[in-house]
């Protein structure tokens, strides 16, 4: 198993990338690009849910403060993902992984299972994000379009992020 000693550095670099993405994203209002749900999902299981929620809160606030977004929006949408992180992992990768404190990877569980876990965390994040961002002022069709388009774009981006953040045993 590859050590997670570089996780903090990689996570910080991803956070910087996310801030840049938020500041310079060429996409319109229909697409919300965010690597944060995948990053939270990849937080090592040795870190407790409480620790993960604090990481999510801090990461969300950092992105909100350092980009031109609403302060608290990313944090509010990301905390539920952190709360459900172990539950999602339990559903798709099994209880054993949590008991061992091991990490998931594409090699161990395959792209389908990892994608399913990513999509679940993205769903949680995007539902909260779209609702809080619109604050009841946007029509349903707009919210659904935004949700669908963001889901597709973020899924591809998150696969890449997960690939970078999760250790690969074969290496």
């Amino acid at each position: 198993m590859r050590s997670n000693q570089n996780f903090g550095l990689l996570f910080s670099l991803m956070l910087v990338c996310q801030i840049m993405l938020c500041n310079f994203s060429p996409l319109g209002p229909y697409v919300i690009l965010s690597m944060l749900p995948a990053m939270i999902l990849c937080v090592p299981l040795t870190i407790s849910t409480i620790g993960c929620m604090f990481i999510a809160f801090a990461s969300g606030l950092a992105v909100d403060w350092l980009s031109e977004g609403l302060v608290g929006l990313n944090a509010a949408a990301l905390i539920p993902v952190a709360l459900m992180r172990k539950g999602i992992i339990r559903i798709y990768f099994g209880e054993d992984l949590i008991d061992r404190g091991d990490s998931f990877s594409f090699n161990k569980f395959g792209t389908a299972k990892v994608s399913a876990a990513i999509l679940t965390s993205l769903t949680l994040f995007l539902i909260a994000y779209v609702i809080l961002d619109g604050a009841g002022t946007r029509p349903l069709w707009f919210n659904l379009t935004c949700f669908g388009a963001s889901m597709i774009c973020n899924w591809i981006l998150s696969l890449l992020v997960t690939h970078i953040l999760t250790p690969d045993d074969r290496k």
Binding site: I50, F54, D64, G72, A75, A76, A135
Partner: protein, 274 residues
Amino acid sequence: MRRSNIIYHVINAAIFILLEVAALNMLRNNGTIQNVWFSKGAHAFSATVWGGAQNVRHYFSLKKRNDALAQDNHELRIRIAELESMMADSLSSQRNTSPEGIAGDFRYIPATIVKISNNTQHNYIIIGKGSDDGVSKGAGVITGKGAIGVIDAVGRKYSYARSFKNHEMNISARLGKEGAVGPMAWNGYSSNGAVLREIPHHVEFHHGDTVYTSGYSSIFPPDIPLGTTGDSRIVNGATYEIEINLFEDFGALRYVTVVENLGKEEINNLEDMQ
């Protein structure tokens, strides 16, 4: 083990709520639309909670309100009784100045009930007015809420009336003010129940329609409300038999009016001639 798990989940939930509230509070302070949206939600929530609390408070104060209403009712009843007494005195004094006490074809004599029987199949009423006051045999006894009986025997100061709650009594009643007419009698067991018979089955009526005196009997004036219609059934395939809920509470009777049809003798003579 299980207990520590529960504590762990509770702590997780508490921290989740804490962080989420903090994030949402920041969002509220930084976004105008979000601020309005959260305020609306908070108002709706507080209105629901406040409304629920008010309902609970109302529920627990019902006994107090009931007691207050009962006290109000009691005071109103006393006032009504006083007014009725004053009216009876006033009508008596009018009768003294105008001995006839006539209105239209009927003469009215206010009276108080001295004795009343309600618990047998042949009930009666004794009123505190007799031949000295102008009461005669065959006069009707009424109130504003119904026909009470018919005078059967008259003494100098008192009169004996057969109560409507008597098997031998029938009143000519009308369904509504323009409807069909039929005999109405006590149902024999209920304190406020009667039966209206011989209503042709083509006549339309509804549950709750008011029944009035018809004025055809030569005893009672027309249009005194008697009660409302209840369940009905067709008898012999030809007529309705309708249950009537009487307005008057015979158990609470105190003041009545004796009513005499001034043309009754002439009508009876005409009938006898045929």
